[in-house]
């Protein structure tokens, strides 16, 4: 129960930060995808089910507030959360490089999915441009942000684990 509340708060806080107009935060008009970091690192720390759930609800929130069609973001985030959950099998508490690699891969998948649904279907064929202009910078920036954010999320997760063990 406590865990669910914490996840809920994490989603809301990161969502508000990401959608805020912090110009000093974004580089070259690109914002790091904080919500994706949350989904990937939770899936990596907790497994497929949690990744899937948190991905779905994160996406749903973005959809409801910003999406034109509700369900598209939920779908993308959910798929990413589920497949990143497989990485839980090689989870190690003090490995800080592997999750960052996973974040990079998922951000690429996310950008690619988004290009297909949002642009390719409207006849924008210049994939290389979008790759260079949006997907790659977003990956780099998201990776940089995930170095810090994953550490924080990992600490929160460890504390939750400890509380749960003590509770039993």
């Amino acid at each position: 129960m406590k865990r669910i509340i914490v996840y809920f708060l994490e989603i809301i806080i990161l969502f508000v930060i990401q959608t805020s107009t912090f110009h000093y935060f974004g580089l070259a008009n690109i914002m790091p995808n904080l919500l994706l970091i949350l989904v990937v690192s939770t899936a990596y720390m907790r497994g497929r089910m949690t990744g899937l759930g948190i991905g779905f609800f994160t996406g749903l929130l973005v959809d409801i507030v910003y999406g034109e069609l509700i369900g598209l973001y939920a779908f993308i985030y959910m798929i990413i959360g589920y497949f990143m959950g497989y990485a839980n099998k090689i989870y190690s508490n003090d490995d800080y490089t592997l999750p960052i690699f996973f974040v990079a891969v998922s951000d690429f998948v996310y950008g690619f999915f988004y290009y297909i649904f949002g642009f390719l279907l409207r006849g924008r064929l210049n994939l290389l441009f979008y790759m260079r202009r949006i997907i790659l910078p977003e990956i780099i920036y998201t990776v940089a942000a995930s170095v810090f954010l994953y550490k924080i999320l990992n600490i929160i997760n460890n504390r939750l684990d400890r509380i749960e063990i003590e509770g039993e």
């Binding site: 912090f22 089910m49 899937l52 959809d63 069609l69 509700i70 589920y82």
Partner: protein
């Protein structure tokens, strides 16, 4: 009890597809849900912006003197107002020159009442240029109202809720606006384009081959646009090229608004009236187009036959004064002409 994650995934995918279908089919009915969630988040976004602005202000204080900053801000705003006013007057002058040549002229001036609002959040992705402002239906805003900043067009309100509204800017990849060259009165379509955004430019298309235009000409919103008021400056044209079809020209446009540093915007709290026919249409094709026009819920201008538009547009809005006086800021007398040229 143990559930196989694979089954949950399949259920989730089906659920997502179902939601997409439902929101596609019954988008309007889902509006209350969006409004409820949005109303919860708007105060938070507002709050975090206040904190962020506070911190950045404090940082600025180290570098600059506080008073100077405030004064600078005021002066900048004043410049914006004046440029806008000047632009309007200039436009009136061109209009007057044209009208003087005609013997019968019937001029109507419209005062657009305006409300100022603050930009509080932007679309979470990096792909679109959609942002949220902190005013909504309770401040008298509605879907379809035009948004300006300083002396140019910013975009249009696509969704309006109780305490916030969503604005699609003209540089957005999905945006289409009917424009017009101020000097030659040729129509064109101004299209947002992600590929050109980096250069600070957007695309202009469907310019007539015979249009006598040159680099640096001003483009304003056209009278044939169903959603935008006439005569709002969009930007300045460059790179004019003849299309490969040899029928139309296209060009680039530099917007008059600095979209990178958009903090406050002005909303014209008057909707462009939907044009109506004076007499019942006889031609079937006309009926279809007018129906489509009346029903259009699109947030961008739909492309409609030009000849239709012309006779449809001949009776323009009554200029009743809608100033109710309780808006935050009212900038009066930014008049724009709306002329009846047809006889």
């Amino acid at each position: 009890m143990h559930i196989n994650p694979k089954h949950v995934l399949i259920a989730g995918v089906i659920l997502c597809i179902a939601i997409v279908g439902i929101s596609f089919r019954f988008g309007e009915q889902l509006k209350p849900v969006r409004a409820a969630v949005g109303s919860v988040f708007t105060p938070m976004q507002k709050g975090i912006n206040i904190v962020g602005t506070f911190i950045s202000d404090k940082l600025d204080n180290f570098k600059n003197i506080n008073d100077l900053l405030a004064e600078n801000e005021d002066l900048k705003q004043q410049i914006n107002m004046l440029t806008y006013e000047n632009k309007m007057l200039l436009q009136d002058k061109y209009e007057l020159d044209g009208l003087r040549e005609l013997y019968e002229l019937d001029q109507k001036y419209l005062d657009y009442p305006k409300v100022a609002a603050r930009v509080i959040s932007k679309d979470p992705g990096n792909w679109y240029s959609v942002f949220t402002i902190d005013k909504g239906t309770k401040d008298g805003l509605a879907k379809g109202m035009n948004v300006m900043a300083g002396n140019g067009l910013v975009g249009i309100i696509t969704e309006c809720y109780y305490n916030y509204s969503i604005v699609r800017s003209i540089i957005d990849d999905k945006s289409n606006v009917w424009g017009m060259f101020l000097k030659s009165s040729d129509d064109c379509v101004v299209q947002g384009d992600l590929q050109l955004m980096d250069e600070g430019k957007i695309r202009v298309e469907l310019i007539s081959r015979d249009a006598e235009i040159m680099d640096g000409y001003e483009v304003v919103t056209s009278h044939i646009s169903p959603n935008f008021h006439q005569g709002i400056l969009i930007g300045y044209i460059s790179n004019i090229e003849l299309d490969s079809s040899n029928m139309t020209k296209s060009a680039y446009l530099t917007p008059a608004v600095d979209f990178d540093h958009l903090e406050e915007v002005l909303i014209i709290t008057e909707l462009k009236e939907q044009p109506q026919l004076k007499e019942p249409p006889t031609d079937t094709e006309v009926t279809i187009d007018v129906d489509a026009l009346a029903e259009t819920d699109e947030d961008t201008d739909t492309l409609i036959d030009e000849e239709n538009q012309v006779d449809v547009n001949s009776d323009t809005a009554s200029d009743e004064d809608t100033n109710t006086g309780d808006y935050d800021t009212e900038i009066g007398n930014d008049a724009t002409t709306n002329s009846d040229v047809t006889e």
